[in-house]
Symmetry: C2
């Protein structure tokens, strides 16, 4: 295994003042965006608001040192915060562990798992999360998060890991405690402002004379503006006394150095969620990083991303944070604001640290309803309810996997939903490969090319049956394959040769080899020779290790054309007795 | 869904005296073989010996009415008896149900599941039991059964579902109670006689003047001879008084009409084992039935087999039996003895019924050690310890799946072993398809055929990169595929066209479609056109439902040859600037 070489070694060597200026500007914009977001996502994760700030300091520096993306911005994100809330609540019930301690342990476990995946080159495991599953998961999480935060807007608490549980809890809260109108007023105003601001602010700034990119960046400061305005309002009108919940007193200072508690019970309870958080976080990060890298013709390394995210999570575990990953929105802001290197992340960390040191008194009167509004606006932009229809229109299997994931997440929670989606995706793939498409093929006139007799006008021979199987041959389809060959042969009395065309056969396993031997034996008893054509190199190597080639009654041809030339030269020469087949309607 | 039509309708119409004679002769031979076997397997299943006889009466008639094989002989078999013993013991511990009642319920559940599989056309599920998994399961079950029966030979009891448990229990029995020498003498003599008889009896009968088939059939009566001789010895020497365990008093008479108990607890406890017994029994039956049918150019129907086995198990459940399936040894005997139709099964049922009515007093003094000897000789012939080596030599994945199944069955029991084997087989298949083989291809000179540049002497163009991907494109390999295309393009500065040759692509799912779109976009940004060739009909239909064809910068060619003719006519014309590549060493 080659030694791991952090990308930081390369970019640090060429670091200069101009790059530092670009990185610094980007960092200022990201910091203004990240401070309210960190507080909000910590609230979503069911943790003290300070945990959000702490998770946005040391992890950014750790990622900058080991990650490979130039512009990915790591920190707390919505879906991982939701998963953290569910996992720590569950672990608290089962083992009595404090949720904040459980969050540290979760980050630590996730970090160790990501590093282990890097060491074992297991990054490919993330590929088993298909696009429909990820898309469905994000849409459903967005709905879950928005429903849960609606409680904060109304001044009642809404708890639960599933949509029915959240809605029930919301209903109970409304019935027993009623709406807190001042909370709804402040939160509703923030929601309206932020919702409008997503589209309305940029043109406003443009008309005010700002350049397009400056206007875009300035529009991202909307949450910070909403936060500051709401603090002023709450403070002046003393809304806290009227039941508007506020963030309250935050400890001022840098993150505490912490060690996650290590109890076997707690580790067992959190290992599953940590694995899922690692996978989801990794997939999200890599997607974002790849998208941004492609725009500047840079490349990222999946292994380096595993190391970078692993280091970031371990940093979160030892500095009072909770699981972090690369966020889409903040990375795009960082990229658009002109960040050149991961040093922008280090500068952002410094900005957040300054906020933790000096700004915490400011947040005392920050209403939770405004944080909820920032979360709702952010996550609803991720919800795409038409995606399942688009997926279904392309392929039923993809649509089914997406719908199953969405329903699973909404009705049974994140973990069950994702596992259902992955299991269904794999089952549908296996079902497809277990029922292979087979085609009788003939020669496209004037070429050496052979295609399906039902789709193309091709020439065939009454003595030679050429069959193409469109799948690897393995245990799940070997018997169906045997049956199909038997029924194709049964209705052709003049047959003397069967040629199995294998361009799509990428694997022949032992079960399928035994089926081929059975087919060869049965055809021989009927006086028919069995041939193969276009067998690929790796498959041919494998067959060479068996006795099949010795017992084969026919030959192995390099191409289907060579097979037909040898077995029925008349057809390939294009002579008169061509049996022309027209394509099916 | 077409209405199910029992095969019996056809063969009963043409039934005549000559066929009846052939069937009757076969039935006599099978009955002589089946009586001791039924008693032995019931003992193996942990049930009263009569359950074995009862399971060999009504189920045979039910299968004759609905099954499609002419010669399959159903009844109690070794591996299903072992699984029944494990399942009923487990259910007894968990729910307090009596093992005999649990066995009835198990047979009933298995029958209902088999009928449900037939109704839902789910027979293909059995295909997921690959040959290495079935082979490993049978070898390991044979070892488990032989180890368990060794206790009966030594006169101590050996219990347990795993090899360590059985060996520990055997050791404890030997330490605390010691060997019962009369038992060992009788059992050892039977074992030696039956072991020798498998190979030695037929030549003896041949030398005595019998024809080859008669000698073969007569040799199958060896267990019956051992049983009769041991009864005489035990009775005359009164060995039962010396501690030799005997079958004891059997109720004389036809099977009682029973109804399995229906408790939700018991159904829940037995549903899993019943599903596995159904699958294993179905796979075994179909394999045996197919092998025999092919010898006489008959065909069997998987759906009819499901109905036949389902009916047989329901018959077992209502007549004091336990789960049954088609047995290999008895079906071969039935076939070789000349059985023509399933009426042979009906005659056999009559023979066993006669035994149950009139012969039960005879079995009072039958030593259990002799039944154990018949089981050991039968199952050890199924053990094939070299099979894993042969599987490994052909393909590591097959060898691994077989070894995992064997170890799983021996160390953790039948269910865990089979599920481990199936899960590992699927995981290895997915791993293979997740890491697809890709080849840069060039034209085989003088043909229109394109092959791997590393294996064949082919012509390529500096402007056109032709890549063949040897796998369906789906979520598990879409990202790896993107990466490979990117790195292939990166080292070819003169490139103007990339042609993806798709003869092995049997599926493009939504995740892979998005990867193709990303590749198309990235290549376009680098000024390279992206083409596809040899896209199969079903895949092309699917692509037609997406926007991919509108955004594709290049074209879709019917054949790779057509693509090269259009993009770089010089190479295909075989002109001077051919870049000839030699195969790798």
């Amino acid at each position: 295994m080659a030694m791991f070489r952090p990308a930081a070694i390369d970019w640090l060597r060429r670091y200069d003042g101009q790059t530092a200026g670009a990185d610094g500007l980007a960092a200022i914009i990201v910091t203004i965006m990240l401070v309210p977001q960190s507080l909000a996502y910590a609230m979503l994760a069911g943790l003290p608001p300070a945990a959000g700030l702490y998770a946005s300091i040391l992890p950014l520096i750790a990622y900058a040192a080991f990650g490979s993306s130039r512009t990915l911005a790591v920190g707390p994100v919505a879906v991982v915060s939701l998963m953290t809330a569910a996992a720590t609540a569950e672990a608290a019930v089962r083992t009595g562990i404090d949720p904040a301690a459980a969050a540290l342990l979760l980050a630590g476990l996730s970090g160790v798992m990501l590093l282990a995946m890097a060491a074992l080159r297991l990054g490919f495991v993330a590929n088993f999360l298909s696009h429909p599953v990820i898309g469905g998961f994000i849409t459903a999480s967005g709905l879950l998060i928005a429903a849960g935060q609606a409680g904060h807007l109304l001044g009642v608490s809404a708890r639960g890991d599933t949509l029915p549980a959240i809605l029930t809890s919301l209903y109970d809260g409304l019935v027993t405690r009623g709406v807190n109108w001042p909370t709804l007023a402040v939160g509703g105003a923030a929601l309206a402002f932020l919702g409008w601001g997503r589209k309305g602010l940029k043109p406003l700034f443009r008309r005010a004379g700002l350049g397009p990119r400056t206007a875009e960046a300035a529009a991202k400061a909307a949450p910070a503006v909403a936060v500051l305005a709401s603090i002023v309002v709450v403070n002046r009108l003393d809304l806290a006394a009227m039941g508007v919940r506020v963030v309250g007193v935050l400890p001022a200072g840098l993150p505490p150095l912490t060690l996650p508690p290590l109890g076997l019970d707690a580790v067992m309870a959190l290992a599953g969620p940590a694995a899922l958080i690692s996978l989801i976080g990794f997939v999200e990060s890599v997607s974002v990083a790849q998208t941004l890298a492609a725009k500047r013709r840079q490349r990222i390394s999946a292994d380096a991303e595993l190391v970078g995210l692993g280091a970031a999570n371990i940093a979160a575990a030892v500095s009072g944070g909770y699981p972090v990953t690369g966020g889409f929105a903040r990375s795009v802001v960082n990229f658009d604001a002109g960040a050149q290197t991961p040093m922008a992340g280090v500068f952002t960390a410094a900005g957040i640290a300054a906020a933790a040191l000096f700004l915490t008194p400011l947040f005392r009167d920050l209403p939770q309803a405004v944080l909820a509004a920032t979360i709702i606006v952010a996550v609803l932009s991720l919800v795409d309810l038409k995606a399942p229809l688009r997926a279904w229109a392309y392929a039923r299997a993809d649509g089914l996997a997406m719908v199953a994931t969405i329903l699973g997440v909404l009705l049974a929670g994140v973990e069950v939903g994702i596992l259902t989606g992955v299991a269904l995706s794999l089952a549908l793939f296996l079902r497809h490969s277990a029922r292979p498409h087979m085609a009788v093929v003939g020669q496209v006139p004037g070429s050496q090319h052979f295609r399906n007799v039902d789709r193309h006008a091709v020439a065939t021979s009454p003595h030679v049956l050429s069959v193409r199987i469109d799948e690897s041959l393995y245990f799940a389809n070997a018997r169906a394959f045997e049956d199909r060959i038997a029924s194709l042969v049964a209705c052709r009395p003049a047959l003397r040769h069967v040629v199995l065309m294998c361009p799509a056969v990428n694997l022949i396993d032992l079960s399928a080899l035994e089926s081929l031997e059975a087919i060869n034996r049965r055809l021989a008893e009927a006086g028919i020779d069995f041939h193969l054509s276009e067998v690929k190199g790796p498959v041919m190597d494998r067959l060479g290790h068996s006795h099949f080639l010795d017992m084969l009654t026919g030959r192995i041809f390099l191409s289907q054309h060579a097979a037909m030339q040898a077995l029925d030269p008349v057809v390939t020469a294009g002579a008169d007795d061509l049996t022309m087949r027209l394509p099916a309607s």
